[in-house]
Amino acid sequence: MTTYFIRRFLLIIPTFLGITLVTFLILQIVPGGPLEMELMKIRMGGSDGVSESGSTSGSTQNIPQSAIEELQKFYGFDKPIHERYILWLGNLLKLDLGKSYVYSEPVMDVITSRFPISIYFGLIGFILTYIVCIPLGVYKAVKNGSKFDFITSALVFAGYAIPGFAFGALMLVLFGGGSFWDVFPLGGFRSSDYETLSLSGKIWDQIHHTILPVASYMIGSFATLTILTKNSVIENLSQDYIRTAFSKGLTEKRVIFGHALRNSLIPISTGLGHAISLVLAGSILIEKVFNINGIGLLSYDSIIQRDYPVVMGILVISTLLLLVGNILSDILYAIVDPRIRFK
């Protein structure tokens, strides 16, 4: 078993190299990279963006070759592509992800400053999803075919069908103080006057800002987990060992929670490992809608602005989390199911 997990960890290396190499190549080859953007800015007449019409044409000649080379050197484009990748990889081993083009700060600092916000929303959404969906799924399984089962199924599937960002936008229109009700703030992580508030005020403010984004985060994953739990419980309830449990004279409650649920949680617990990468990754669109400065928004912006070091940095972290999460799933699987023996 230990050798299995050692092997799995060793396999992270080639997988990681493959993913980063492909992404690196694509980023470097596609047109519209940071160099072109910078040149464009110069052509447009400076970074202030104010340009007089007509003066842009023919301005390419205005940029001297030496300046272009300097820029190439600044972005590292003077070397061939494989060298650039190896250089990047070498720096990565020294835990140096480079400097952000946009923020002119180390990529590490840029990313870590955004992490707490994403973890905050991700974790709350994640925990709430499990707290709500598992009991709901069990209850639906026991009451399979009832009116309650039917209505909740309709609700979770409706939630599944609505994209989270669209739901978020709708909530903002309805409750964000526009033409309808002014119940929740329009977005942001906290109010601008957060620091001046009392402790209870701070807590209330935080909750106030949390409800809508978290609801949007959760709405999609609700259906999957609830139905997975329900089906898993139903399947287990028809197993032979449930009949054995009843024949011992156990109560229905004991049979469901002591026998069926434990077995039903096996497929669910394996999802936990994958969830860590989702918790940290944030959601681009929801963060955009609610104007939350999380990892999601950061990766969105860095791609738009061709901030390659940040893009690669986020990729490194999310890839590692995904790969480690997969192994974590296997470990969890081996813990909850004594029959599993990896080799």
């Binding site: 050798t3 050692i6 092997r7 060793l10 080799k343």
Partner: protein, 335 residues
């Protein structure tokens, strides 16, 4: 090959590698079949009996060369000679595509009539399919043959448009038999063909198999765990335990006078539908059959054998002829 044989198996070994360690190297192997030789005579029925895990089904699958589909790293050693119209061939040496050409001659009937028929194909399509690959029949000829086969196995030609789920277990097994017969095979391997069926239906299918064997001059390798069924249908019986033959010989003789200690115990364990024999002397073996993974050294049966000696751990006993045509793999017993 002996002219009266249609199949000769020489020293057949089937090994499944067990991998382990950091780099998944082969660390051990499971010998599912450990050096088995036998002949199938033309027109005879050879019964292969043994308990689960003894390797009897593996032999059937190795002969028809379909083991590689379920585990691609299986190792099959030994010779499997089959007589065909054009000569003798060693099936174990054939490539997959060469084997396909000969599969029309050797067909299999499976245990589970519920899962061995494709639920999405009509009965007609199921029986017709082998004809597409093994014959040059046109559509009309194929349809006629399907209708003829259905009637041969006791179904109606009109039922060819129906789907497997519309039939009962016994009827599905009849469909499986019709499918196996469609290409006019010489050899049929029947792997537990009646053990999933109810008693009253079991008898029907056994009778059908016997009638068809006579009509089509089939040679039958009948694999089963039910000794009385095997005795009824087989002319000769081979008893298997953990990958080896314990005893081979005339069916009636083995059933009434088993020689090998395992065959004796196996036969005395079978409950008979005759209450007067309730208090017959019974050998109850202790313990479980070891898994092929932990096969004991030497004679595989020695851990449960009532007459085991220390020497039994040293060598695998070969089959010895204890009386004419009756072989047993134990040096300490006689007929």
């Amino acid at each position: 090959m002996n002219p009266e044989n249609i199949l000769e198996i020489k020293d057949l070994k089937v090994k499944f590698p067990v991998t382990g360690g950091l780099f998944l190297r082969k660390v051990a192997e499971v010998k599912a079949v450990d050096g088995v030789s036998f002949n199938l005579k033309k027109g005879e029925t050879l019964g292969l009996v043994g308990e689960s895990g003894c390797g009897k089904s593996t032999i059937g699958k190795a002969v028809i060369n379909i083991l590689k589909f379920s585990s691609h790293d299986v190792e099959i050693d030994g010779e499997i000679w089959m007589k065909t119209e054009t000569g003798e061939i060693d099936l174990n040496k054939l490539s997959r595509s060469e084997m396909r050409k000969h599969r029309g001659n050797i067909q299999m009937i499976f245990q589970d009539p519920y899962s061995s028929l494709n639920a999405r194909m009509s009965v007609g399509q199921i029986i017709e399919e082998p004809l597409l690959y093994h014959t040059n029949m046109n559509k009309k000829e194929r349809e006629e043959r399907v209708a003829w086969l259905l009637e041969k196995v006791g179904l109606q030609a009109e039922q060819s448009k129906r789907y497997p789920h519309e039939f009962s277990g016994g009827q599905r097994q009849r469909i499986g038999i019709a499918r196996a017969l469609s290409t006019n095979p010489k050899i049929i391997i029947a792997d537990e063909p009646v053990s999933a069926l109810d008693v009253s239906i079991q008898a029907q299918v056994i009778n059908l198999l016997q009638d068809l064997q006579e009509e089509f001059d089939l040679s039958l390798l009948f694999i089963a765990h039910d000794l009385s069924v095997v005795e009824h249908i087989s002319s000769r019986i081979a008893v298997m335990y953990l990958g080896n033959f314990c005893e081979v010989g005339d069916g009636y003789r083995i059933y009434h006078h088993p020689i090998h200690p395992y065959s004796k115990a196996l036969l005395s364990a079978v409950p008979l539908p005759n209450p007067k024999l309730k208090n017959k002397e019974r050998i109850i073996l202790t313990g479980d059959v070891p898994t092929p993974m932990n096969k004991p050294s030497g004679c595989g049966f020695r851990t449960r054998c009532p007459i085991a000696k220390p020497e039994c751990a040293d060598f695998i006993p070969p089959l010895e002829e204890k009386e004419p045509g009756h072989f047993a793999a134990c040096p300490y017993v006689s007929a």
